[in-house]
């Protein structure tokens, strides 16, 4: 055990590990909070579709020679999020078939473009890293960490200040609209935040595993708690602790970071489900 702690102490001295341990939990926090609203609105798979759109748009950005691929992938993902999540009559994309078409189409075109316009000599490796986030969280720049911190702080403050409004929009949108709340604007804001969090969360768990970051903390919290406030708090805690535990286990055991974080979230969800079941 002392050897393990000594190893951990030495690894924690490296700045890239410190950056991962700061940025990872922050992104997981934002994802968990947004995941609660997506799960409650039965839009859990939206995260998967948006992450595929982000993957495709990153490939397009690479093909067009963008130095910073986020400059293209972020606006495109936001546009798709608004189109998917806006529940007004003017919603551009509806239905599960449309969702599937967007998701698969973006993934396929993205992979095609990465092969036709490779950004490096190791296309398979680039694709694998983007899809599963094996070590991307361990290769962050200081600006990446600041961006994650700013975004997660903004999401946390947003949920803290407007918890009741979000509750209204999630559970009683018609009542909220009748009471004068600009539901469309709030939904657009939630869609934009979801898209931004998903694009950033790709660095932590990869494209294919983002849904886990959104869903498992939320579902686990809902199994154990009844009030909206308690669910938000519990989901946040699970998200943060799951990311921390996943990153630490990954660097100690030499496992891929993304899937280890998801495994930690699954474990937490199971524990909460068990605890909620025992409570009854």
């Amino acid at each position: 055990m002392s050897a393990l702690l000594e190893t951990l102490r030495e690894y924690l001295a490296y700045p890239f590990v410190q950056k991962a341990l700061v940025a990872g939990p922050l992104v997981a926090l934002a994802a968990a909070l947004l995941g609660v609203t997506l799960v409650l609105r039965r839009l859990s798979y939206i995260g998967d579709s948006l992450s595929h759109v982000a993957f495709g748009s990153m490939a397009v950005a690479g093909a067009l020679g963008f130095a910073d691929r986020l400059a293209l992938s972020l606006p495109l993902t936001v546009l798709c999020a608004v189109a998917l999540l806006h529940s007004g009559r003017g919603a551009a994309i509806r239905g599960d078939a449309a969702l599937a078409m967007l998701s698969v189409g973006a993934m396929a075109l993205g992979y095609l473009l990465m092969n036709v316009f490779p950004g490096s000599s190791n296309v398979a490796g680039d694709v694998c890293t983007t899809l599963f986030g094996s070590t991307s969280i361990l290769t962050l720049s200081p600006s990446d960490v600041w961006l994650c911190g700013a975004l997660s702080g903004a999401v946390a403050v947003f949920f803290g200040l407007f918890r009741h409004r979000i509750f209204e929009i999630v559970f009683e949108p018609d009542f909220a609209r009748a009471a004068g709340t600009r539901v469309g604007a709030w939904e657009t804001l939630l869609a934009v935040l979801s898209a931004v969090v998903i694009v950033l969360a790709m660095r932590l768990v990869g494209t294919l595993l983002i849904t886990a970051l959104l869903v498992f903390p939320a579902v686990g919290a809902m199994r154990a708690f009844r009030s909206f406030r308690a669910v938000l708090l519990c989901a946040s805690l699970v998200g943060v602790l799951g990311a921390l535990a996943g990153i630490l286990v990954s660097i100690l055991a030499g496992t891929p970071v993304g899937s280890t974080v998801v495994a930690a979230d699954i474990a937490a969800c199971l524990v909460l489900t068990l605890a909620g079941g025992l409570r009854k």
Partner: protein, 175 residues
């Protein structure tokens, strides 16, 4: 009797964590204890190089004693911030690759290591110690080698790139 779920959840989580930690705690010390003597790049920058403090024969950065996730990530960090690691001794093991880029007279040599998922591989260029002649003095490309030397940088197109200078190559078949 109703029980609050949070204490139960915490208790289950602690129990689960202990169960998960046991296999890690009982791993072979060689696999879990990296031979990384210095605390990190910041200390190297402050002291202006750690060659004088490193014990002879023991590299400051030993990727052979780190797991794949850490070794790969550390190598990426070296490549992204080469100036922070300049002057440190390094030992790494991986697959040998060589190429003679078009338009260049000098042949380049590299040692590649892969990440935990074995889908990504990253190489670090090295310049061998002494006058070695390719291909007679080098192992076949793709063979497993161990490289030990001093991290240094060279500039190309205005950017610094990391490489291992005075590299001593060990190939299992030549031991």
């Amino acid at each position: 009797m109703k029980h609050h779920p949070l204490p139960l959840a915490i208790g289950l989580a602690v129990a689960g964590g202990i169960l998960l930690a046991l296999p890690l705690a009982t791993r072979h010390p060689r696999a879990t204890r990296p031979s990384i003597a210095a605390p990190g790049p910041a200390a190297v920058a402050a002291t202006g190089g750690a060659e004088a403090s490193a014990p002879a024969g023991k590299p400051e950065i030993d990727l052979t004693h780190s797991n794949r996730t850490m070794a790969y990530s550390l190598l990426i960090d070296i490549l992204l911030d080469p100036l922070a690691y300049r002057g440190r001794t390094i030992r790494m093991a991986g697959l040998y690759a060589t190429a003679a880029p078009e338009g260049e007279t000098k042949r380049r040599h590299a040692c590649f290591i892969s990440d935990a998922g074995a889908c990504c591989a990253q190489g670090l260029e090295f310049a061998p110690l002494g006058r070695l002649v390719h291909p007679d003095d080098f192992p076949p490309p793709g063979s497993r080698i161990q490289v030990e030397g001093i991290l240094d940088t060279y500039e190309e197109d205005g950017r610094p790139y990391a490489y291992v200078r005075d590299a001593v190559i060990t190939h299992p078949s030549t031991r």
